[in-house]
Subunit: 146 residues, 10 copies
């Protein structure tokens, strides 16, 4: 079973059982963002996590195996069109050079890892309209001289 069919199977089960990504993440014992990304085929799950997920959603061993596979991460749109995703792309375009200035001022020459990395997303209540809080947490990697 490839990752596309795996995601399809999880989506159907999630809808049938009427559970949320938070429910699934709790059953797996991991964070919602990471759990969802693995279900969408963008991360591989350790065996015990994949088993827990398939047990919770009554999914087959084939889904479990697909969850464990190392993904090839591919996206088709160099510039995404969906408005929610485009706004994130826009943030990178508008604030990318600013983030470079601030990070390198605090840490020296290097980057924030996107591999040794985690992310959480929270809802903050606000009388003027609730707010999305995205927290990215990545290891700083200094450039090595040799």
């Amino acid at each position: 079973m490839n990752k596309l069919d795996m995601t399809q199977a999880i989506m159907v089960a999630k809808e049938t059982k009427e559970v949320s990504w938070e429910n699934i993440a709790e059953a797996v014992g991991m964070s919602p963002v990471w759990t969802t990304s693995a279900c969408l085929g963008m991360n591989s799950m350790p065996s015990d996590k994949a088993s827990a997920l398939c047990q919770y959603l009554d999914l087959s061993a084939e889904v479990r195996e697909a969850l464990e596979q190392y993904p090839t991460k591919v996206w088709d749109q160099a510039v995404p069109t969906d408005p929610l995703i485009y706004r994130l792309y826009e943030v990178v375009g508008v604030y990318g050079p600013t983030m470079k200035e601030i990070i390198q001022e605090k840490f020296g020459d290097g980057i924030m890892s996107a591999i040794d990395f985690n992310m959480s997303i929270e809802r903050k209540e606000d009388p003027k309209g609730d707010r999305v809080i995205v927290t990215m947490d990545g290891k700083f990697l200094p450039y090595k001289a040799w």
Copy 2:
């Protein structure tokens, strides 16, 4: 004076005076990320903030006027090449659909605004290597039906 020359003038003054973006932001009374983005030409400064900045860095009225101008936000590289900025682009590519799932599960159909938006960047100490903490905080905007 256009925004490019303005940024150039600020950079030279910043280096000469040996001050950091944090120092400048403090002098202006705003956050480091926003202050830096305005200095890089990606946001406009209210008049009092622009004056405070120019006073702190001994810059001319022309720089102040340029800081107040509404920018046209342009970036040349649809896919950025600098590794620090590319990693942010990669996060959008890898986690964009996941973020859409999580945000829309928490809020309903809509987006996180990139306009009614702010961001902070902090350094978290960690014995295995310090970490960059980026916090994005954007208003949720629901799609309107009509």
Copy 3:
């Protein structure tokens, strides 16, 4: 049922029943532009609206569920080729910077929302050739400083 099959089913029913988008919109109690966009898979319908539509067109519960799903908005052609749609793209290319000047003169630094947004399209009779009147109505969103 995915959005593509949903649109297909609605198109067939619309043709069989010989009704217009205006008829459908009236049955749903919403505007023609929004109703059509939801049928083409570019907006999600609240449950009662989706039910009304499916009752009016004798469509299955699967179509109703597909109408309620939050869409991922994707378009393939960065520059559209269909002449009707290209002319709209051309208007953005030719008048985009003008619109920026006028809107920011009236409102300050910010944008017109494409989310808190609605649109109507009318026919205006004219002896030299009838005219298309497109009215876009979007909330002004000021850039926040922080």
Copy 4:
């Protein structure tokens, strides 16, 4: 004098005299959108309008001649990055096929002209946040069979 220098000269005069695009348009006796687009080099002005503009802003005969020239309309970014202009592009991407359905249902097979075309932009007060009202008015052009 080419169109770029012409725009530059007008911008400087506009800032020095502290007049708005509305003021300039009134002096010229035309609409603000069209007047601005001609000043940005995207439309040609008839001789009397160009003269009125140059008299109002104390600009040279060279500027007048440049305003009268027929422009070559060029834009560099197939997908615009400035958020205000991108939102308009997004509207074309999201609602383009819907607009095609509605216009062709009302008029038959054809397009809305972007040449025999005008546009106005107004501010509508709203307690939840003022709104931008863009009205496009283009002649319907039916496809000819032969």
Copy 5:
């Protein structure tokens, strides 16, 4: 039946009956270029023309309905590769600015319509090699000032 299947059906019938585009156009009572373009899915046929075509080629009512549908005009290759079509593209690249100079000298600021437009293609005998004569005939549309 969609336009692609319609074209396929017409092509098969045309080959089976061993008729030319000229024969089909004559049967329909329209020009060869327009008739062919409608058969290739790039124009819609009025009902009587579609009926005449289907009668002539013994095609089903489904083909007739598909011929009447308003097409979405899409092409995949921004720069066409087929040598015959590329040469036309090359003519636009090499002579486009020249055509702009000549047309705007004769008519003023405006364009040649591609909608209120027709075209014919003839063969001119020539002892050095016969020649293709393409005649385009489009309404001049002046830019409107407002």
Copy 6:
């Protein structure tokens, strides 16, 4: 003198002397389209034609030499944005496959040359709006088998 400066010099002389492309072509004894294309740097002029042109417009020997040089034909925009030129591009996109069908039905497998090629542009009066008549005349080149 390169072709860009040559065009610039011719444009200035043309405006100063208040002559049209038709006048210049008549002085040179060639067609307006070809003469204009040579002046825009897209064709080379034989020596006698270049001399006639420079004499008519009082231009230097350097301009004459530049007119005689073989051009490298370059255009920057794969998809042109100027509306007049875009409409020609659109004609190629919409009618290219039709033209291929018609030409190859009349001539066999081959192409219309864009090298052994000429073009004329005329104004046809019409009470509903005057029309642009573009006539392209290119040698048919059959594919050779070997």
Copy 7:
């Protein structure tokens, strides 16, 4: 039968019968390059050649008809990735302007036709490593003035 299926059928027959392109070309009485290009769908075969090929390879009348059809020449990769084909692309990039200089010095302003064109490919033995000899032979086409 379309050209893709035709190529597939020829490839299978070629492998089964264990014949080379040279064998096929000899049976057809044409050159190997042209014969191969027709089999790959990039040229049309006259009826007698198509018959000879199908007789030699025991292929059906459908293959013969497909061989006779005029191809639409399409390639997907503007920059080819296969190393053998890329090297040819590289030769055009590195030596294209040189070839223009040399050809136009020998012939005047014009081009080498890719239509009235043939090519052969030979193997030249060499102790340091055998060499590929590609000979292109195209008619010179002078630009016409008019």
Copy 8:
């Protein structure tokens, strides 16, 4: 002196002295294609060849040094627009897969080198129109297994 200025200097000297690429090549004792490519900045000249060229054209030591430098081979247009160069690109597009079939049938799996490579261009007289003969001669490089 960079390669661009070097080419400029050689072009001026070539025109002033009224010599051809063939003359220059003969003076240098190398082939016209290679000599021209070095003058256009696409190959480096050994010291003695560069000296011979500069002596023949009365050029400075700076030009000689620039000729000896190893070039970075860059071209801007992935798809060239000049008709002469485009036709070569078209040959690669149309005949690339054919050339791969023929070369690999004759030599096995591998490529024709574009580095251990040479090319000549000749004029062949022909009563129907003279022909350009391009001969490419590249070492076959077999893929290595390891």
Copy 9:
């Protein structure tokens, strides 16, 4: 059987038999990198190697034949998105000009062959985190003058 199906068959057999690429390479008597690349369809296998592989994995003669076929090497993403592959692309972008300087300083004007080329990948233990050692070994090819 085409290369895609071949890879699929090998992947299934590899998983079922629970063998590694190293095991397969050892069975074939070739290096792991080359063996894997042939299994992924990017190199052709000599007949004995293909037989050995199919015997080891219990695969059919069809797989063997597919392994022997000369591949057309195609990749879809000009800029790869998978993070592991992107980092390699980034190395070429960041260090490409440096590698050119160093290689040409050591060898003269020329390139490193990607055809007469091999590569190995090793794991080096390191207390701060194990390291990937990639060794590329390509023949230097000097540019030929002629």
Copy 10:
């Protein structure tokens, strides 16, 4: 002084003093690849290294400061055209998926860092033609689950 001018200054000094990258690297006490990349503006130098370099090449304090600045790593060509650099790009295209298989088989799901990374380039003598040996050494970074 920006990085471009810095590179220019170093290149001139390197040529004047007739020293190699190896000499410079030795003087600095670092590897040739890293030293060259810093001189080409793709890495920042610690202060003592920059001083050593400027002392060795008799360069100004401005060059030293430019060497210490953190670079923004930009390259213009998504697909490089210079043959030496293209071959490296080709290696990534041809062997990228193979390298992913091998690395992830040896290490698990993760990547080779391009930041905690070094590279060396050596010349290996070989009677059939000397060889370029490129050794890349990057830390393995496992994907983190959270």
